[in-house]
Amino acid sequence: MSTLLKIMLLGCLSISAFAEEAKLENIQVATDKPALARGAEDWMNNCHTCHTMKYVKYSDLLSLGIDKAKVDGWRGEASVDTPLIAQMSDADAMATFARVPPDLSLMAQARDGGPNYMYSYLIGYYLKPDGTTGNHIFPETKMPDPLGISSVAGAAQRTEMQNTAKSITSFLTWAADPHTTDRTRLGYYVIGYLIVLSGLLYVVKKQIWSRLK
C-alpha cells in the first residue's frame, strides 16, 4: 500500500502549494524574555491607547522580567491582577473610528498568516499622493498608522521601526499562547522518551515473534 502513501503525500503537498498567498512578509518571532519584555514596552507605548488585551495582566508583564517600578507606573491605582484595558473608552473609539479596536490578546492567532500578517500589516502603511495613508495588507483599515512608518525618512529609521514592529509582534505572539516555550521544551522530552520506548517495544516485538517457527 505504499502507493497510497505517495498519493496522500502528493495531495497534501499540492494543497499547501495552492493555499499560500505571497503578499505577506515572513518573520521569525523572538521567544526569549528580554525580547518579549522589549516588545511589551513597545506595545504599552504604541498600542495601549486604543487596544485592550483582556487575557494579559500586569502581573504577566512582571513575569517577563520588566522592572517593577515601570509596571507600577503603567498600572497606577489598578491591582497587578487587572488586565490591560485600553486607555481610550469604547464610546470615544466609536466616535473616532466608527468601531472599537479589537482585543489583541489572541490577535496573533486570529488571522490567516498569524504573526506574519500582523507584522506585514504594521509595516504596510504608505503615504498616498493625496497625503493620507494607505495600507498594502488591509487597505480599508480604520487604524491610523500607529508606528508612523508611512512618514519615515531614511532607511535606518525604517529598519528601526521594522524592529519595533517585530518586537511588538513577538510580544503579541507570546501573549496569544504564553506557554509556547514550556510546551516545546516538554515536547522534546516527551518525544525523546517515546522514541526510546518505541525502540524498546520494537525489540520486544521482534523477540516475541522470533519464537514463531
Partner: protein
C-alpha cells in the same frame, strides 16, 4: 492463571476463561500487517479523548457569555490546561485519521464481505457517532467558526419535509444558535463518547465471532493462526509508540495548525466570517453538499455520501479472496477513490467563488457516487476475467475453502440453535 485470589474470583466470575478466550487463546492470523493496528489505535484515541475531556469539563463553562473566556482560562491559568486542550483538539483529528485508515484498510482488503457485514455496519455506526461527537464538540470553544459552523449545519435540517423549521428550532433550542444550543451540545458531547464505548464493545463482540480477516484471504488454516497475546499485544504496542510520536509532534510543536484562526475570535452573530470552513475531516462531505445546486439535493447527497460505505457488502460481488491484493481492477478503483476524496477535500476547503473549483467539485461528486455504483458490475466482470485468465496457484483453493468455511459457519450456527444434532 492461578493463585488463591484468581481461584476465588473464577468460582464467581469467568475471569480466566474470558482472558483465555479473548486474549491468550484468541486465534489471530499471523500474517496481519501493520494496517491491522489501526483498530487498536482507535480504541486508544477514544480513551485519550475521554480522559482529557473529563478534565477539561472540570474547568469549562457551558454558557455563551463565559465559554470563550473559560477556554482561555484553561489555556493560561489551569496547570497543564494547555496540554489538556491541545491533546483533546489534536485527538479529534487523530481519531478521524485513524478511523479513515482503518476504513481504507477494510475497503482495500475487502474485509467488509461475508461474514463480516455486521462488523462493517457497526463500524459505520461508529463513524456516524464520531462525526456527531466531533461536530458538537467544535461548538464548545464558542469561537466564530464554532458558531457559524453550527449555524450552517443545523440550518441544513430545514430540508426535512413539512416540519423543517421546527426541526431546526428543536435542534438549536432557539431560533438561532445561542446559549441553549451550547448547553445541549455540551451535554450531548459528554454523552456520546460513552455511547461510542458501548458500540465499540458490540463491534469487538462481532469481531471475535467472525475473527479477523487477513491480507491474503478470509480464512486461514489453524497453523497460521497465533494467539493474540503476546504476539499482537506486542505488535500493537509498538505501533502505538509510533503513533504517539506523530501525535506528540502535533500536540507540542504545531497544535494550532489544526485550529482555524477565526476560531480565536469570540462568536459574534452579527459578523459572518468571509469563508466558513468545517474541520478537515468533514471537507470531502462538505464539498459534496455544496456541489449540488439545490439545498435539498445537497443535503441528501451529503448524507448518502457518508452512508454509501454501508452498501459495500451488497455492491461487491467478487468472491476472489484478499480484496485488492488479487484484484488489479478493484485496486485501481480503490486508489482512484482515495484520489477523488483528496480532490473533494481540496474543493471543500476552497471558497466556492471560483467557477472552475465548483465544476471540479461537481465532477468529483459524480465520481464519488459512480465509484460505488460501478462496483457490482466491475467486480463481477473482474471475477470472471480473473478466473478465465487463471488465478495464481492456491487462490482457487482458497476460494473453495472460504466457501466451505462459510457453510461450516452456517452449520455451526444451526447446531448452536439446536436445529441440528
Amino acid at each position: 492463571m492461578s493463585g488463591p485470589i484468581i481461584n476465588w474470583i473464577d468460582k464467581r466470575f469467568p475471569l480466566t476463561s474470558f482472558v483465555k478466550h479473548e486474549l491468550t487463546d484468541y486465534p489471530t492470523p499471523r500474517n496481519l500487517s501493520y494496517w491491522w493496528n489501526f483498530g487498536f489505535l482507535a480504541g486508544i484515541v477514544l480513551v485519550l479523548q475521554v480522559a482529557t475531556g473529563i478534565f477539561l469539563a472540570m474547568h469549562y463553562k457551558a454558557d455563551s457569555t463565559l465559554a470563550f473566556d473559560s477556554i482561555q482560562h484553561i489555556m493560561r491559568e489551569v496547570n497543564y490546561g494547555w496540554l489538556l486542550r491541545y491533546m483533546h483538539a489534536t485527538g479529534a483529528s487523530a481519531f478521524f485519521f485513524v478511523i479513515f485508515v482503518h476504513m481504507a484498510r477494510t475497503l482495500y482488503y475487502g474485509s467488509f464481505r461475508a461474514p463480516r457485514e455486521l462488523l462493517w455496519w457497526t463500524g459505520q455506526g461508529l463513524l456516524l457517532m464520531l462525526m456527531a461527537t466531533a461536530f458538537m464538540g467544535y461548538l464548545l470553544p464558542w469561537g466564530q467558526m464554532s458558531f457559524w459552523g453550527a449555524t450552517v449545519i443545523t440550518n441544513l435540517f430545514k430540508v426535512t419535509p413539512f416540519i423543517g423549521e421546527n426541526v431546526v428550532i428543536w435542534l438549536r433550542g432557539d431560533y438561532s444558535v445561542g446559549d441553549d444550543t451550547l448547553t445541549r451540545f455540551f451535554s450531548l458531547h459528554y454523552l456520546f463518547p460513552f455511547l461510542i464505548i458501548g458500540a465499540v464493545i458490540v463491534h469487538l463482540v462481532a469481531l471475535h465471532t467472525v475473527k479477523s480477516s487477513n491480507p491474503s484471504g478470509i480464512d486461514l488454516k489453524d497453523k497460521d493462526n497465533i494467539p493474540f497475546h503476546p504476539y499482537f499485544t506486542a505488535k500493537d504496542l509498538y505501533g502505538l509508540g509510533i503513533f504517539l510520536i506523530v501525535y506528540s509532534v502535533f500536540v507540542f510543536f504545531m497544535p494550532n495548525s489544526l485550529i482555524e484562526p477565526a476560531n480565536n475570535i469570540p462568536a459574534n452573530p452579527m459578523v459572518t466570517p468571509s469563508h466558513i470552513v468545517p474541520e478537515w475531516y468533514f471537507l470531502p462531505f462538505y464539498a459534496i453538499l455544496r456541489s449540488v445546486p439545490n439545498m435539498f439535493g445537497g443535503v441528501v447527497a451529503m448524507a448518502l455520501s457518508v452512508m454509501m460505505f454501508a452498501f459495500m457488502p451488497f455492491l461487491d460481488r467478487s468472491r476472489i479472496p484478499g480484496g485488492a491484493r488479487y484484484r488489479p481492477i478493484y485496486r485501481i478503483q480503490f486508489y482512484l477513490f482515495l484520489l477523488d476524496m483528496l480532490v473533494l477535500g481540496y474543493v471543500g476547503y476552497k471558497p466556492p467563488t471560483n467557477p472552475s473549483i465548483v465544476v471540479v467539485g461537481q465532477v468529483a461528486t459524480l465520481c464519488y457516487f459512480a465509484s460505488f455504483f460501478v462496483v457490482p458490475f466491475v467486480s463481477k466482470i473482474e471475477e470472471r476475467w480473473l478466473i478465465k485468465r487463471g488465478l495464481p496457484a492456491g487462490i482457487m483453493e482458497l476460494m473453495e475453502r472460504e466457501k466451505r468455511d462459510l457453510e461450516n459457519r452456517t452449520q455451526e450456527h444451526r447446531r448452536r440453535k439446536g436445529d441440528l444434532v
